[in-house]
């Protein structure tokens, strides 16, 4: 029996360029497009692919910290700016730290399942290059428990949280194997990003990626167990995708063959005020994956691709375990053996992931949905991987905070 009470489709995905260090056109001191530009570009990018934008019923915008990065609240107010027919239609902003985009996906779907809309334009956006990284670290630390954790936390709060996870894994499973797995994750991320013209690392020409990935940490200026290449990028960007019921697809003039069905999702919330039960696991991500598989009535082996939240290389290794592709402690080996490469057993983060493509926090969950839908529709350009007929599924896992707020979503090729 299907998990949803009616069929839900995703179509017309669009990602902007993710801008920040690494892109040739990026210069920290030159003026850049603002948050409204990204919302509009992504929104128009999506509705240009449908016949009747006036039949979009609602908007949802995922965003984490525009209130601090851009001094901007009330983001729903930018929805009618995207297209004149959106005037006076509802729009909701969702926030769940780096899973804000993931929550935008589920909120869009819930509205359709509640019969309150047939078509929802789902956006995600973040503009983060407005401040130096040391101040951005303050804003992003809002994904943790401010009054309970921030004072004793590191200057680079979130990198340190995951540095601690890396340290715990070194101790438990051996430093060399974990460290090499992390470096290989970095190599894969950049190699995939080089195939994606919109990726922040598209212009990367480094000839020794593994060597760079193995750079020893600079504990004085940064973290104890990770280097800067282990981290996702500071990015400006937006993504958009349209969700619709069968009726909705007709209303916007999209043929079912140009849409991808959403089979299931799991939205899981952990308590922000408690530390992770085990630093060597992404426990909440594992619950979300298990529930998503159960609801879709499939197993990991049925997936042709995976898109996980690699905010840090160590998170990538642990996410592969949480998604059921490697046993506990074996994520590093699984990655080092090439299984997550585009031609591997489970192509993972095929467009570069958060490390290669970039991580405009509020956009990322939506970006993942766009990329999974593109892959399942054979529209992924140079990043396209083989979608096996006996494995027509793709899954994304979007995480907010230190494994606190998670959305996993499974899609099926027609």
């Amino acid at each position: 029996m299907s998990y949803f009470r009616k069929k839900i489709y995703a179509t017309a995905g669009f990602n902007t360029v993710f801008l920040g260090t690494g892109r040739k056109e990026f210069h920290p001191k030159k003026p850049r497009p603002g948050i409204e530009h990204y919302i509009k570009e992504a929104g128009l990018g999506a509705i240009d692919q449908i016949q009747n934008p006036e039949n979009i019923d609602e908007g949802v915008i995922g965003n984490f910290m525009a209130s601090r990065f851009c001094n901007q609240g009330n983001l729903g107010g930018f929805f009618p700016m995207v297209h004149p027919t959106f005037q006076y239609k509802p729009c909701t902003r969702t926030e769940g730290a780096c899973d804000s985009g993931g929550l935008a996906l589920t909120t869009s779907i819930k509205t359709i399942l509640a019969d309150l809309a047939d078509v929802v334009l789902c956006l995600g956006v973040e503009v983060q290059n407005s401040v130096k990284a040391i101040y951005g670290a303050d804003f992003l630390a809002g994904a943790g428990w401010f009054s309970g954790e921030r004072k004793d936390g590191h200057a680079y709060f979130f990198p340190d949280q995951f540095s601690q996870r890396a340290g715990a894994c070194y101790k438990k499973f051996g430093k060399e194997k974990i460290r090499k797995g992390m470096a290989q994750w970095y190599v894969n991320a950049i190699e995939n990003a080089r195939k994606n013209p919109k990726a922040q690392e598209f212009h990367n020409r480094n000839s020794d990626l593994f060597g760079t990935g193995m750079t020893p940490p600079n504990t004085k200026a940064f973290c104890e167990h990770i280097n800067v290449f282990d981290c996702s990028k500071v990015s400006d960007g937006a993504s958009a995708i349209i969700f619709a019921s069968e009726e909705g697809l007709k209303k916007i003039g999209v043929d079912k063959k140009d849409a991808i069905e959403v089979i299931s999702y799991a939205q899981v919330q952990d308590n922000l005020t408690t530390p992770p039960p085990d630093k060597t696991k992404l426990s909440t991500c594992a619950v979300a994956a298990r529930r998503a598989y159960e609801r879709a009535e499939i197993k990991p082996k049925n997936l042709s691709l995976l898109d996980v939240h690699d905010c840090f290389t160590i998170a990538g290794l642990l996410a592969v375990e949480a998604a059921g592709f490697a046993d506990y402690g074996e994520g590093a080996d699984f990655v080092s053996d090439g299984n997550t490469k585009s031609e591997g057993i489970i192509p993972t983060n095929t467009t570069g992931g958060l490390i290669g493509y970039g991580h405009p926090t509020g956009a990322t969950g939506v970006r993942q949905a766009v990329d999974v839908v593109h892959q399942l529709s054979d529209k992924a350009g140079n990043c396209q991987v083989k979608i096996h007929s006996d494995k027509p599924f793709g899954m994304l896992s979007s995480m907010g905070g230190n494994d606190k707020t998670v959305v996993n979503m499974i899609f099926r090729k027609n």
Binding site: K132, I134, A141, R150, K151, H154, A155, K220, A221, F222
Partner: protein
């Protein structure tokens, strides 16, 4: 007195200048870190910044704020540790602001020379003019306590000469920072004949705390850095006089600048470097060395003519280069001065192509300095580059190889003359103070 005690009260003379202001940023942070230790909370720390004009001090105030902010942003990991007991300071932004404000509160900006009287350490960073330096040092001696120690940012005047003429009896040491002091790792340390052991130790300890690379130079005018730079520059200036018949002044300057930057893989061409330092400063450097070394070859008519025409180079307060031998837009040369015609010739593509045909007819693409800077295999790549240069057999490659030979000769002479104790010291100065990626004493030639 220990260094910690001396750092309670420090004065910088000439604090608004390029060097003085950089030293002020470095020393103020060390003083603030001491002040923040729990045992020092009740002590008064004071860094007095003296210069001659209120306008210059206004510029210094804004420079200090900007630089202290940048420094705090870079050391936030450490600052969070320092402020770990301050419950009211939670975010990086709050901690950075607090540190900048606390450091700024140590500073006392003044044009009143008499405020130096309580200082235990004095950094002197005034213009390189020996009459003025001696006059100022004499005044300082009279105003300060008997045990005050003086660190002089002198770049060419022998320290013993200053010591004897100011009557400081060994309470002075040469402490030559490189521009800009906040960034450049090098400090040349020059002991005068009478410099006391206490001062030598204090100077070594300050260098360690500031994480500078200290290189000893003997007390001979110009020391290692300027002893080399002056003659390197002079070689290029004299070469221009040779080449001007054929290429005009502006062509010759352009050629020597290109050769020294691209063919010799240096961060900037020799004339851009003289512009960066300032033609007047370079002129006074030659004058000082000419006098103290009794070497009348240390002079350039060409340079003197340029300076007389008020073509002086130097930098704006933003750090951007002012026009000198070359004209600049956003720090990139866009034209070159012709002293006979008294005007700048703006580069145009046809003219550059004509010169290129002469110096680099095969259109070789040399690996730029920046690409090699962090390259682990740079010495192998440099060897390949210079071997390639030797095989080119063009007029340009010969000009470059002659320059490379001359540069080595100048360095070897510093050894023979006893300015430096070792080839390593000379190479360390050029690599750390001038950002060269190889030392002048090398096996490439």
């Amino acid at each position: 007195m220990t260094l910690d005690e001396r750092l309670e009260n420090v004065t910088i003379i000439g604090a608004a200048g390029k060097m003085g202001s950089g030293i002020a940023v470095l020393i103020s942070q060390e003083m603030a870190k001491l002040k923040l230790l729990p045992e020092n909370r009740d002590k008064i720390y004071r860094l007095t910044l003296i210069d001659i004009s209120e306008k210059a001090l206004d510029g210094l105030r804004s420079y200090m704020r900007t630089q202290l902010l940048k420094a705090a942003e870079k050391s936030t990991v450490l600052l969070r540790e320092i402020y770990k007991d301050r419950k009211d300071l939670v975010e990086n932004g709050e901690i950075i602001n607090e540190f900048v404000n606390e450091t700024y509160a140590l500073l006392n900006f003044s044009t009143d020379f008499n405020l130096v009287k309580d200082a235990s350490l004095v950094f002197e960073a005034i213009f390189e003019n020996e009459e003025i330096k001696i006059k100022v040092l004499k005044q300082l001696k009279n105003l300060c306590k008997k045990d005050t120690l003086f660190l002089s940012n002198t770049s060419s005047i022998p320290i013993s000469y200053l010591d004897e003429n100011a009557g400081l009896e060994g309470r002075i040491i040469g402490y030559h920072f490189y521009n800009p002091p906040v960034i450049q790792k090098l400090v040349e340390v020059i002991s005068a004949k009478k410099t006391t052991d206490e001062l030598k130790e204090i100077a070594a300890e300050i260098g360690k705390r500031l994480r500078k690379k200290l290189v000893p130079s003997n007390d001979i005018s110009g020391f290692i850095g300027n002893g080399h730079f002056s003659r390197d520059g002079l070689y290029a200036l004299n070469k221009v006089e040779e080449l001007k018949e054929k290429y005009d002044y502006h062509g010759a300057v352009y050629i020597m600048n290109r050769i020294s930057q691209e063919f010799l893989v240096r961060p900037m061409g020799i004339f851009q470097l003289i512009d960066y330092v300032g033609l007047d400063i370079f002129q006074s450097l030659l004058r000082v060395m000419n006098t103290h070394l009794a070497d009348t070859t240390l002079v350039s008519d060409f340079l003197n003519k340029m300076a007389a025409n008020k073509i002086l180079g130097g930098q704006f307060s933003s750090g951007a280069q002012k026009d000198g031998f070359l004209k600049y837009e956003k720090n990139r040369p866009t034209g070159v001065y012709n002293i006979e015609k008294e005007k700048y010739f703006m580069f145009d593509e046809d003219w550059k192509a004509k010169i290129d045909k002469v110096i680099n007819p095969t259109n070789e693409k040399f690996i730029p300095w920046r690409a090699l800077l962090m390259d682990a295999k740079k010495s192998d790549k440099l060897k390949t580059h210079f071997d390639n240069l030797k095989n080119m057999n063009t007029w340009g490659s010969e000009l470059a190889l002659d320059f490379l030979k001359e540069t080595k000769k100048i360095a070897e002479r510093l050894l023979v003359d006893g300015v430096a104790d070792s080839a390593d010291d000379i190479n360390a100065v050029l690599m750390n103070g001038f950002f060269w990626i190889y030392g002048p004493i090398n096996n490439y030639i």
